[in-house]
Symmetry: C2
Subunit: 179 residues, 2 copies
């Protein structure tokens, strides 16, 4: 499974491509940041993010795009820009028919470090170890994008098992009602 | 001046096209709503909004797109969807090189009713009168989109005068320092 992780932001939008399956060593295919100038108007910045993400989708053809789920409870000053950049990421993926998955920051931290409250350095250290890199990816947004992709690959089987369990339970319940 | 007003939303995105200049009767060219199903995933909904807005931009070729400025202080449950829909509107306009203007809800209400705290009915009534319509546009999102366009047309000259005054003041100040 090949996943493009996107840590959305207007100034720095982290992107990272990871390939692999749960329980096997993962491979990083690419990592980087799409930047837009802080003094440009918002529309121009969103166009810049769209162009940057399109290049990543063209180059790596991911099967799924994992985007950080944005909460409005966060820092009020930056949350709108984050929500807008995440909208562009979801739009670019969906326009190509690529499924989008959303993961919260604490889900991502818990997936790669074991703790939903891990700090940036801890996430960077685990991403480095899990992808067998020589140094933590910089800036932190790039490392966070890789962590998102890893989180999705590792959570996907659990989510599938959960969905199967729910479906089986529903079948059993339905049988119970009709028998 | 021809302005497309956009009242952003995922379920109902209001759109309205108004033509005219400040101080002269205005003309409505079109009004409507781009809808996306509440049970579709977010990426699919954003693609639906993009397609809908592209049709409006194709048909009316506005010189400017006026979008409601979203604040994160508003209703936490709906604000993320509003921010994401507004991102798509700004992206579609900027991609075509069409300038984007943002106006707050209270600026819009004040422009068309004289009060920044006017209710939906009052805004609808004034939009109906100012555009010489036979009935208020429904739903309210459509009326709000027209109000946004009207607000922009009426505020644009004032903004230009303000910019000129600031520029002249800066010139005078510079002369004062050098004499």
């Amino acid at each position: 499974m090949r996943v493009l992780g996107v840590d959305p932001g207007l100034t720095r939008c982290g992107v990272g491509v990871v390939e692999g399956v749960a329980g096997r060593p993962l491979t990083m295919l690419g990592v980087g940041v799409v930047r837009t100038p802080a003094d440009a108007d918002i529309g121009t910045r969103l166009v810049g993010i769209e162009r940057g993400l399109e290049e990543w989708l063209d180059r790596y053809a991911p099967e799924l795009v994992a985007v950080e789920r944005v909460f409005s409870q966060h820092n009020v000053r930056t949350v709108m820009g984050t929500a807008q950049a995440s909208a562009v990421a979801m739009l670019c993926a969906s326009r190509r028919g690529i499924p989008v998955a959303l993961h919260t920051p604490s889900e991502v931290k818990a997936a790669v470090t074991g703790s939903g409250r891990a700090d940036k350095a801890q996430v960077g250290a685990m991403v480095t170890r899990l992808l067998r890199l020589s140094a933590p990816p910089k800036p932190a947004d790039a490392a966070d994008a890789l962590a998102l992709a890893i989180c999705h690959i590792w959570r996907a089987p659990a989510q599938n098992r959960l969905q199967q369990a729910v479906a089986q339970h529903a079948q059993h319940a339905a049988k119970g009602r009709t028998s």
